[in-house]
Amino acid sequence: MSGKPVVRRVHSELERRRFLYVLGEALERVHRLRQVLKRQQVFVRAEHAQVQPTNGLDTLIGYLDNHRQNLLDNSHLIASLIRNRPLSDGEREAVEGAVDLLIVGLLQVHELLLLLPREAAKPQASFLLRDCSGKDLKLSIVLTNLLSAYEYRFEDVLEKVNIEQAERGSLTQGGSVLCQAFADKDNPLAWAVLAHEYGHALNDAGTISEKIVFGEGPEKESKAKDLKLGNYPRTVGMVTDS
């Protein structure tokens, strides 16, 4: 396994679009993350009006703001890059570096949200999934860090660590557990990814892809034999999916 992904060389317009996409994602998350921290700050202040208990949150907000300011200090260069104006090698490297460093700060703060009181997912996200699938859903949505969000369902993790099927059975009574990133809680566009994840649960329950590949009834076994696939591996989550 190679540690480094191979970066495909692209023409400048595609490169510019990629940059815009990454920049947009980063700015969106910074804004959402700041909102989460501000809400936590209000909550803590309301609970402890007599003292100043929000120092930790102030530090996180200040840390995020420092990164945001670094990006803003390079805003003239970012504008030039987006508008295809010529930049020197140093300026181009600096612009990309500024966005990269912003993302690092963003990920660090987002990870630390695991240590704070956890917010609940928006009920509207469940309504969206219900509307997509058109039936009663058996699922829960929990907020978590970016590393584990959207990558798996809880049952799959238990399966991988050899928890017996009988024990898992009782856990699945509550339905699938979908993990959403803290910063995506208020972003309806990000909820669409949950619909994708829930599609895996629907697929498993109805063996939809299996029926498409192998057919139904008696022809299923012969097709599987022909294809020499047997039990094809399940892929779950954004990272492993195509």
Partner: protein, 128 residues
């Protein structure tokens, strides 16, 4: 979780590096430019280089070589971690000298030098 084990000072590396990168970006546009932002950014870059060396020093005693070897094998990394650390220390000293010269206005920077310094600051502060 990775963040939980990051020492508090290392967490601020990316802030320092960001300010230094901004200063170097200003100089990339105009090598003779000078402002409070450039000066303080270069100073932050110097602190950043020193912190990178301190971090590399801490990591020497932080984990067993056996454990590191197993980790490297698992990710297919064949480079010797000790030599990588030496490279980082040497490079950070070189970049720190360059930033010191710029901060004391004794040197007019060339583009390759600026690009090299930006790349170093970016790489060492975004190792994740």
């Amino acid at each position: 979780m990775a963040t939980a084990t990051i020492p508090r000072n290392d967490l601020y590396l990316s802030v320092l590096a960001g300010r230094a990168v901004t200063a170097l970006a200003d100089l990339s546009g105009d090598p003779s430019a000078w402002s409070q932002r450039i000066e303080s950014g270069l100073r932050d870059g110097i602190f950043c280089c020193q912190a990178v060396r301190a971090r590399a020093g801490r990591n020497i005693g932080g984990s067993s070589s056996e454990g590191r070897s197993a980790l490297n094998r698992s990710v297919g990394n064949t480079s010797d971690p000790d030599s990588v650390r030496t490279d980082v220390c040497t490079e950070s000293e070189r970049i720190e000298r360059f930033l010191l010269q710029l901060a004391s206005r004794k040197h007019r920077p060339e583009m390759p030098e600026l690009v090299g310094a930006i790349k170093f600051l970016r790489k060492t502060s975004t190792d994740r």
